[in-house]
Amino acid sequence: MPKVKIPTPLRQYAGGNAEVEVSGSTAGEALRDLTERHPELRNHLYTGDGKLRSFVNVYKGDEDIRYLDGQETEISEGDELSIIPSIAGGES
């Protein structure tokens, strides 16, 4: 099964796991399966209208899926997706 690597700040919502095995043949399906297994992740990954939050980045290997086929990016058995934070903010 493909795996999703969970960053430190989200592990508490994924049963403390650094890595979760998921099913799915695209990145979108894998993420959906992940949030079905661990529903508490949803609010931190997606906005209210179901879009991936802008500071949540999903990589297949070393590549951001935004520069591949996005949610449609194909994944297979041995693939590893990583959720990687970008950190943003500002004073107003």
């Binding site: 934070p85 903010g89 004073e91």
Partner: protein, 139 residues
């Protein structure tokens, strides 16, 4: 939860905030989470890669976050959170900060003016993302 940070690391955050003024600075807090307290062992500067309005915005790209995590792991440490500065604004998180925040991480904010850093506070996002809890800074 409390954040223990030594004078040397705090001084480095002050210096970074003052050098970057009037733009915002940002960096990583690295160390050990021992349960009740997160212990900062080092602070690493990040590049503020926000394309515009860097006096009120900062961005640390995922590639750099990943690099920080790998560097921390090589030293048996973790990324505990991030610091950034608020030029001419208080050390309180803004709505924009909240929208972009991750849970668990400590967010250290330094209020800085032309005269230097005036205040430093640390914040942690609530589980339901509704706001922040202030975190005790142990020096």
């Amino acid at each position: 939860m409390a954040l223990k940070i030594g004078q040397g690391d705090l001084r480095n955050i002050h210096r970074h905030a003052e050098e970057a003024y009037p733009e915002e600075c940002a960096g990583a807090l690295v160390g050990m989470d021992v349960g009740e307290v997160k212990i900062v062992v080092d602070v690493w500067r990040a590049e503020n890669t926000h394309e515009e309005e860097r006096s009120r915005r900062f961005l640390i790209r995922p590639e750099q976050v990943r690099e920080f995590e790998e560097r921390a792991r090589e030293r048996d440490m973790d990324v505990l959170g991030f610091y950034h500065s608020h030029p001419d604004h208080p050390a309180e998180p803004s709505e924009y900060d909240r929208e972009h925040a991750w849970p668990y991480y400590s967010y250290v904010i330094a209020s800085v003016t032309q005269e230097g850093v005036k205040d430093v506070k640390s914040w942690v996002l609530r589980d339901d993302r509704s706001g922040y809890e202030q975190e005790e800074l142990v020096r």
